[in-house]
Amino acid sequence: MSDIKLIDELDSLKENFIKTIDKLTKDLKRNQKIMDRSDKQQRREYDELQKKFIEVETLKKEIEDTQKEVVFTMGAIGESRSKETGNHVKRVAEYTYLLAKYYGLSEKECEMLKQASPMHDIGKVAIPDAILNKPGRFDADERSIMETHAQLGYDMLKYSNRSLLKMASTVAYEHHEKYNGTGYPNQLAGEEIHIYGRITALADVFDALGSARVYKEAWSDERIFKMFKEERGKHFDPKLIDIFFENLDSFLVIRDSMKDV
Protein backbone atom coordinates (compact mmCIF):
# COMPACT_ATOMS: atom_id res chain seq x y z
CA MET A 1 0.00 0.00 0.00
CA SER A 2 2.72 2.46 0.96
CA ASP A 3 4.38 1.91 -2.39
CA ILE A 4 1.22 2.96 -4.19
CA LYS A 5 1.06 6.12 -2.06
CA LEU A 6 4.68 6.83 -2.84
CA ILE A 7 4.00 6.36 -6.55
CA ASP A 8 1.07 8.81 -6.34
CA GLU A 9 3.27 11.34 -4.59
CA LEU A 10 6.01 10.90 -7.13
CA ASP A 11 3.53 11.31 -9.98
CA SER A 12 2.27 14.50 -8.45
CA LEU A 13 5.83 15.75 -7.98
CA LYS A 14 6.61 14.85 -11.56
CA GLU A 15 3.59 16.76 -12.75
CA ASN A 16 4.56 19.84 -10.73
CA PHE A 17 8.12 19.56 -11.91
CA ILE A 18 7.05 19.44 -15.55
CA LYS A 19 4.71 22.41 -15.02
CA THR A 20 7.50 24.43 -13.42
CA ILE A 21 9.94 23.50 -16.16
CA ASP A 22 7.36 24.45 -18.78
CA LYS A 23 6.79 27.77 -17.14
CA LEU A 24 10.51 28.44 -16.81
CA THR A 25 11.06 27.50 -20.44
CA LYS A 26 8.22 29.75 -21.51
CA ASP A 27 9.60 32.65 -19.47
CA LEU A 28 13.09 32.15 -20.81
CA LYS A 29 11.83 32.03 -24.38
CA ARG A 30 9.79 35.16 -23.77
CA ASN A 31 12.71 37.00 -22.25
CA GLN A 32 14.83 35.97 -25.19
CA LYS A 33 12.16 37.32 -27.50
CA ILE A 34 11.98 40.62 -25.64
CA MET A 35 15.76 40.87 -25.69
CA ASP A 36 15.90 40.15 -29.44
CA ARG A 37 13.17 42.66 -30.16
CA SER A 38 14.89 45.20 -27.96
CA ASP A 39 18.27 44.65 -29.63
CA LYS A 40 16.69 45.06 -33.01
CA GLN A 41 14.98 48.26 -31.92
CA GLN A 42 18.18 49.58 -30.40
CA ARG A 43 20.14 48.86 -33.56
CA ARG A 44 17.61 50.73 -35.66
CA GLU A 45 17.51 53.62 -33.24
CA TYR A 46 21.27 53.88 -33.26
CA ASP A 47 21.39 53.68 -37.06
CA GLU A 48 18.75 56.38 -37.23
CA LEU A 49 20.67 58.49 -34.74
CA GLN A 50 23.85 58.19 -36.77
CA LYS A 51 21.96 59.13 -39.90
CA LYS A 52 20.38 62.15 -38.23
CA PHE A 53 23.70 63.17 -36.80
CA ILE A 54 25.26 63.21 -40.26
CA GLU A 55 22.23 65.11 -41.54
CA VAL A 56 22.60 67.73 -38.81
CA GLU A 57 26.29 68.08 -39.56
CA THR A 58 25.59 68.49 -43.27
CA LEU A 59 22.88 71.06 -42.59
CA LYS A 60 25.12 72.92 -40.18
CA LYS A 61 27.82 73.13 -42.82
CA GLU A 62 25.24 74.15 -45.40
CA ILE A 63 24.06 76.98 -43.14
CA GLU A 64 27.60 78.12 -42.46
CA ASP A 65 28.51 78.01 -46.14
CA THR A 66 25.34 79.89 -47.08
CA GLN A 67 26.09 82.50 -44.45
CA LYS A 68 29.65 82.89 -45.72
CA GLU A 69 28.43 83.17 -49.28
CA VAL A 70 25.78 85.76 -48.39
CA VAL A 71 28.32 87.78 -46.49
CA PHE A 72 30.88 87.52 -49.27
CA THR A 73 28.30 88.48 -51.90
CA MET A 74 27.21 91.45 -49.82
CA GLY A 75 30.82 92.50 -49.56
CA ALA A 76 31.14 92.25 -53.34
CA ILE A 77 27.98 94.34 -53.77
CA GLY A 78 29.40 96.95 -51.41
CA GLU A 79 32.62 96.90 -53.40
CA SER A 80 30.81 97.30 -56.71
CA ARG A 81 29.30 100.48 -55.30
CA SER A 82 32.52 101.85 -53.97
CA LYS A 83 35.51 103.31 -55.72
CA GLU A 84 37.64 100.54 -54.36
CA THR A 85 38.26 97.83 -56.90
CA GLY A 86 39.92 94.52 -57.53
CA ASN A 87 40.97 92.61 -54.49
CA HIS A 88 40.39 95.44 -52.04
CA VAL A 89 37.84 93.64 -49.85
CA LYS A 90 39.79 90.39 -49.98
CA ARG A 91 42.94 92.14 -48.78
CA VAL A 92 40.99 94.02 -46.11
CA ALA A 93 39.64 90.67 -44.95
CA GLU A 94 43.16 89.26 -44.60
CA TYR A 95 44.49 92.40 -42.87
CA THR A 96 41.65 92.42 -40.36
CA TYR A 97 42.31 88.76 -39.62
CA LEU A 98 45.98 89.44 -38.91
CA LEU A 99 45.32 92.54 -36.82
CA ALA A 100 42.70 90.68 -34.78
CA LYS A 101 45.07 87.76 -34.32
CA TYR A 102 47.98 89.92 -33.15
CA TYR A 103 45.63 91.97 -30.98
CA GLY A 104 44.79 88.75 -29.13
CA LEU A 105 41.23 87.96 -30.22
CA SER A 106 40.22 84.30 -30.29
CA GLU A 107 40.73 82.28 -33.47
CA LYS A 108 36.96 82.08 -33.93
CA GLU A 109 36.56 85.86 -33.64
CA CYS A 110 39.48 86.46 -36.04
CA GLU A 111 37.92 84.11 -38.57
CA MET A 112 34.54 85.82 -38.20
CA LEU A 113 36.04 89.29 -38.58
CA LYS A 114 37.78 88.13 -41.73
CA GLN A 115 34.35 87.27 -43.12
CA ALA A 116 32.50 90.29 -41.76
CA SER A 117 34.97 93.08 -42.55
CA PRO A 118 34.44 92.93 -46.35
CA MET A 119 30.92 94.24 -45.71
CA HIS A 120 32.15 97.52 -44.24
CA ASP A 121 30.96 99.57 -47.25
CA ILE A 122 27.65 97.76 -47.80
CA GLY A 123 25.77 100.98 -46.92
CA LYS A 124 27.00 102.45 -50.20
CA VAL A 125 24.34 100.51 -52.07
CA ALA A 126 21.92 103.17 -50.83
CA ILE A 127 24.02 106.18 -51.94
CA PRO A 128 22.77 107.78 -55.19
CA ASP A 129 24.88 107.07 -58.27
CA ALA A 130 25.31 110.77 -59.04
CA ILE A 131 27.22 111.22 -55.82
CA LEU A 132 28.90 107.85 -55.69
CA ASN A 133 30.32 108.11 -59.21
CA LYS A 134 31.13 111.79 -59.13
CA PRO A 135 34.61 112.16 -60.65
CA GLY A 136 35.74 115.24 -58.74
CA ARG A 137 35.78 116.22 -55.12
CA PHE A 138 32.57 116.21 -53.06
CA ASP A 139 31.06 119.45 -51.88
CA ALA A 140 29.92 119.65 -48.25
CA ASP A 141 26.39 118.33 -48.94
CA GLU A 142 27.64 115.49 -51.08
CA ARG A 143 30.20 114.58 -48.47
CA SER A 144 27.61 114.41 -45.72
CA ILE A 145 25.41 112.19 -47.91
CA MET A 146 28.41 109.98 -48.65
CA GLU A 147 29.10 109.69 -44.96
CA THR A 148 25.63 108.31 -44.27
CA HIS A 149 26.84 104.98 -45.71
CA ALA A 150 28.14 103.98 -42.28
CA GLN A 151 24.74 104.48 -40.65
CA LEU A 152 22.99 102.92 -43.67
CA GLY A 153 25.16 99.82 -43.52
CA TYR A 154 24.48 99.49 -39.83
CA ASP A 155 20.73 99.90 -40.33
CA MET A 156 20.72 97.20 -42.99
CA LEU A 157 22.38 94.63 -40.79
CA LYS A 158 21.47 95.53 -37.23
CA TYR A 159 18.27 93.47 -37.00
CA SER A 160 20.03 90.22 -37.78
CA ASN A 161 20.39 87.70 -34.99
CA ARG A 162 23.28 86.03 -36.80
CA SER A 163 26.48 86.68 -34.95
CA LEU A 164 28.39 87.21 -38.19
CA LEU A 165 25.92 89.79 -39.51
CA LYS A 166 25.80 91.50 -36.11
CA MET A 167 29.56 91.79 -36.29
CA ALA A 168 29.29 93.13 -39.85
CA SER A 169 26.79 95.76 -38.68
CA THR A 170 29.30 96.96 -36.06
CA VAL A 171 32.06 97.05 -38.66
CA ALA A 172 29.89 99.02 -41.13
CA TYR A 173 28.83 101.43 -38.39
CA GLU A 174 32.21 102.19 -36.85
CA HIS A 175 34.85 101.81 -39.55
CA HIS A 176 34.97 105.59 -40.11
CA GLU A 177 35.20 106.53 -36.45
CA LYS A 178 38.57 107.92 -35.42
CA TYR A 179 40.47 107.18 -32.23
CA ASN A 180 40.55 110.85 -31.23
CA GLY A 181 36.79 111.25 -31.66
CA THR A 182 36.77 113.19 -34.94
CA GLY A 183 35.33 110.45 -37.13
CA TYR A 184 31.73 109.69 -38.13
CA PRO A 185 28.87 108.99 -37.68
CA ASN A 186 28.97 109.19 -33.86
CA GLN A 187 32.36 110.77 -33.04
CA LEU A 188 33.20 107.86 -30.78
CA ALA A 189 36.65 107.98 -29.24
CA GLY A 190 39.24 105.51 -27.98
CA GLU A 191 37.85 102.18 -26.88
CA GLU A 192 34.28 103.42 -27.27
CA ILE A 193 34.90 102.36 -30.82
CA HIS A 194 34.52 98.63 -31.00
CA ILE A 195 37.74 96.75 -31.68
CA TYR A 196 36.16 95.43 -34.92
CA GLY A 197 35.66 99.03 -36.07
CA ARG A 198 39.17 100.10 -35.06
CA ILE A 199 40.73 97.14 -36.84
CA THR A 200 38.71 97.57 -40.02
CA ALA A 201 39.46 101.32 -40.11
CA LEU A 202 43.18 100.65 -40.22
CA ALA A 203 42.95 97.78 -42.70
CA ASP A 204 40.65 99.77 -45.02
CA VAL A 205 42.82 102.89 -45.05
CA PHE A 206 46.06 100.95 -45.43
CA ASP A 207 44.71 99.21 -48.50
CA ALA A 208 43.02 102.26 -50.03
CA LEU A 209 46.17 104.39 -49.75
CA GLY A 210 48.37 101.72 -51.26
CA SER A 211 46.12 101.22 -54.27
CA ALA A 212 46.03 103.30 -57.43
CA ARG A 213 42.69 104.85 -58.41
CA VAL A 214 41.55 106.70 -61.51
CA TYR A 215 41.83 109.90 -59.52
CA LYS A 216 45.05 109.17 -57.62
CA GLU A 217 48.34 107.34 -57.69
CA ALA A 218 49.09 104.66 -55.14
CA TRP A 219 50.92 106.15 -52.19
CA SER A 220 54.48 105.02 -51.60
CA ASP A 221 55.09 102.85 -48.55
CA GLU A 222 57.23 105.60 -47.08
CA ARG A 223 54.37 108.06 -47.31
CA ILE A 224 51.84 105.59 -45.87
CA PHE A 225 54.06 104.67 -42.95
CA LYS A 226 54.77 108.32 -42.20
CA MET A 227 51.05 109.07 -42.19
CA PHE A 228 50.32 106.03 -39.97
CA LYS A 229 52.91 107.20 -37.47
CA GLU A 230 51.41 110.68 -37.45
CA GLU A 231 47.90 109.31 -37.05
CA ARG A 232 48.86 106.96 -34.20
CA GLY A 233 46.38 107.84 -31.46
CA LYS A 234 44.60 110.31 -33.75
CA HIS A 235 42.88 108.44 -36.56
CA PHE A 236 44.06 105.02 -35.41
CA ASP A 237 44.24 102.98 -32.23
CA PRO A 238 47.90 103.33 -31.11
CA LYS A 239 48.00 99.67 -30.10
CA LEU A 240 46.97 98.61 -33.58
CA ILE A 241 49.52 100.91 -35.22
CA ASP A 242 52.22 99.31 -33.04
CA ILE A 243 51.00 95.86 -33.97
CA PHE A 244 50.99 96.85 -37.63
CA PHE A 245 54.60 97.99 -37.61
CA GLU A 246 55.78 95.09 -35.47
CA ASN A 247 54.35 92.67 -38.02
CA LEU A 248 54.75 94.76 -41.12
CA ASP A 249 56.22 91.90 -43.15
CA SER A 250 53.09 89.75 -42.82
CA PHE A 251 50.93 92.62 -44.09
CA LEU A 252 53.22 93.24 -47.04
CA VAL A 253 53.18 89.54 -47.93
CA ILE A 254 49.37 89.67 -48.16
CA ARG A 255 49.49 92.84 -50.24
CA ASP A 256 51.99 91.31 -52.65
CA SER A 257 50.16 88.02 -52.98
CA MET A 258 46.79 89.65 -53.69
CA LYS A 259 47.75 92.44 -56.06
CA ASP A 260 45.14 93.95 -58.35
CA VAL A 261 45.69 92.73 -61.90
Partner: protein
Protein backbone atom coordinates in the same frame (compact mmCIF):
# COMPACT_ATOMS: atom_id res chain seq x y z
CA UNK B 1 -14.24 50.73 -8.68
CA UNK B 2 -13.58 53.85 -10.73
CA UNK B 3 -12.40 54.67 -14.20
CA UNK B 4 -8.65 54.91 -14.52
CA UNK B 5 -7.42 58.05 -16.24
CA UNK B 6 -3.72 58.90 -16.34
CA UNK B 7 -2.32 61.72 -18.45
CA UNK B 8 0.55 61.08 -20.81
CA UNK B 9 4.01 62.35 -20.01
CA UNK B 10 7.14 62.53 -22.11
CA UNK B 11 8.00 58.99 -20.97
CA UNK B 12 4.64 57.37 -20.28
CA UNK B 13 1.45 56.78 -22.27
CA UNK B 14 -2.05 58.10 -21.59
CA UNK B 15 -4.34 55.64 -19.83
CA UNK B 16 -8.09 55.77 -20.34
CA UNK B 17 -9.92 52.80 -18.82
CA UNK B 18 -13.68 53.29 -18.94
CA UNK B 19 -16.02 51.10 -16.92
CA UNK B 20 -19.20 52.26 -18.69
CA UNK B 21 -18.02 51.56 -22.23
CA UNK B 22 -15.65 48.70 -21.31
CA UNK B 23 -13.06 50.30 -23.54
CA UNK B 24 -9.54 50.32 -22.16
CA UNK B 25 -7.12 52.51 -24.12
CA UNK B 26 -3.39 53.02 -23.74
CA UNK B 27 -1.90 55.60 -26.08
CA UNK B 28 1.62 56.94 -26.46
CA UNK B 29 5.19 56.06 -25.65
CA UNK B 30 6.43 53.96 -22.80
CA UNK B 31 9.94 54.27 -21.46
CA UNK B 32 9.52 55.21 -17.83
CA UNK B 33 12.41 55.42 -15.43
CA UNK B 34 10.80 52.73 -13.30
CA UNK B 35 8.57 50.63 -15.51
CA UNK B 36 7.47 48.26 -12.77
CA UNK B 37 6.28 51.12 -10.53
CA UNK B 38 4.47 52.76 -13.42
CA UNK B 39 2.54 49.65 -14.50
CA UNK B 40 1.80 48.27 -11.01
CA UNK B 41 -1.42 50.29 -10.46
CA UNK B 42 -2.45 49.71 -14.07
CA UNK B 43 -2.04 45.95 -13.85
CA UNK B 44 -3.78 46.02 -10.47
CA UNK B 45 -6.73 47.92 -11.94
CA UNK B 46 -7.06 45.40 -14.77
CA UNK B 47 -6.96 42.49 -12.34
CA UNK B 48 -9.78 44.01 -10.29
CA UNK B 49 -11.71 44.87 -13.42
CA UNK B 50 -11.47 41.34 -14.80
CA UNK B 51 -12.79 39.98 -11.50
CA UNK B 52 -15.84 42.24 -11.66
CA UNK B 53 -16.68 42.24 -15.34
CA UNK B 54 -19.34 39.76 -16.51
CA UNK B 55 -19.90 38.79 -20.13
CA UNK B 56 -19.70 42.26 -21.65
CA UNK B 57 -17.52 42.83 -24.71
CA UNK B 58 -14.21 44.30 -23.62
CA UNK B 59 -12.21 46.31 -26.12
CA UNK B 60 -8.57 47.06 -25.42
CA UNK B 61 -6.95 49.65 -27.68
CA UNK B 62 -3.17 49.66 -27.56
CA UNK B 63 -1.58 52.45 -29.55
CA UNK B 64 2.02 52.34 -28.43
CA UNK B 65 4.49 53.93 -30.77
CA UNK B 66 7.48 53.22 -28.58
CA UNK B 67 8.17 50.57 -25.92
CA UNK B 68 11.39 50.00 -24.05
CA UNK B 69 12.21 46.39 -23.19
CA UNK B 70 10.85 46.43 -19.65
CA UNK B 71 7.60 47.95 -20.92
CA UNK B 72 7.40 45.22 -23.52
CA UNK B 73 7.78 42.70 -20.69
CA UNK B 74 4.95 44.42 -18.82
CA UNK B 75 2.68 44.00 -21.86
CA UNK B 76 3.57 40.33 -22.20
CA UNK B 77 2.57 39.91 -18.54
CA UNK B 78 -0.62 41.86 -19.15
CA UNK B 79 -1.44 39.64 -22.14
CA UNK B 80 -0.89 36.56 -19.95
CA UNK B 81 -3.52 37.91 -17.60
CA UNK B 82 -5.90 38.69 -20.44
CA UNK B 83 -5.42 35.26 -21.98
CA UNK B 84 -6.25 33.63 -18.68
CA UNK B 85 -9.38 35.77 -18.31
CA UNK B 86 -10.33 34.92 -21.87
CA UNK B 87 -10.05 31.22 -21.17
CA UNK B 88 -12.36 31.76 -18.18
CA UNK B 89 -15.05 33.03 -20.53
CA UNK B 90 -14.47 36.80 -20.73
CA UNK B 91 -14.96 38.45 -24.11
CA UNK B 92 -11.79 40.36 -24.78
CA UNK B 93 -10.83 41.97 -28.02
CA UNK B 94 -7.46 43.68 -28.45
CA UNK B 95 -6.63 46.20 -31.14
CA UNK B 96 -2.92 46.71 -31.66
CA UNK B 97 -2.75 50.09 -33.38
CA UNK B 98 0.38 51.23 -35.19
CA UNK B 99 1.66 53.77 -37.68
CA UNK B 100 2.21 52.51 -41.21
CA UNK B 101 5.88 53.42 -41.13
CA UNK B 102 6.50 52.02 -37.65
CA UNK B 103 7.85 48.55 -38.51
CA UNK B 104 8.92 47.82 -34.97
CA UNK B 105 5.43 48.40 -33.61
CA UNK B 106 3.95 46.23 -36.35
CA UNK B 107 6.39 43.41 -35.62
CA UNK B 108 5.68 43.66 -31.90
CA UNK B 109 1.97 43.22 -32.66
CA UNK B 110 2.81 40.16 -34.75
CA UNK B 111 4.82 38.76 -31.83
CA UNK B 112 1.79 39.08 -29.57
CA UNK B 113 -0.46 37.30 -32.08
CA UNK B 114 2.09 34.48 -32.36
CA UNK B 115 2.49 34.11 -28.59
CA UNK B 116 -1.16 34.47 -27.61
CA UNK B 117 -3.05 32.26 -30.02
CA UNK B 118 -6.11 32.17 -27.77
CA UNK B 119 -6.48 35.94 -27.67
CA UNK B 120 -8.39 37.92 -30.25
CA UNK B 121 -5.74 40.40 -31.39
CA UNK B 122 -6.24 42.59 -34.43
CA UNK B 123 -3.52 44.68 -36.06
CA UNK B 124 -4.86 48.07 -37.05
CA UNK B 125 -2.95 50.57 -39.19
CA UNK B 126 -3.57 54.12 -38.04
CA UNK B 127 -5.40 56.13 -40.64
Amino acid sequence: MENLIIKATQYTPAIDFNLETNILSITGKSYPENTFEYYKPIIFWIEEYLKNVKDEEILINLDLEYLNSSSLKAYFDMFDMLEEANSEGKHIKIKWIYDEDNDISEETGEDFIEDFKNLNIELVVKS
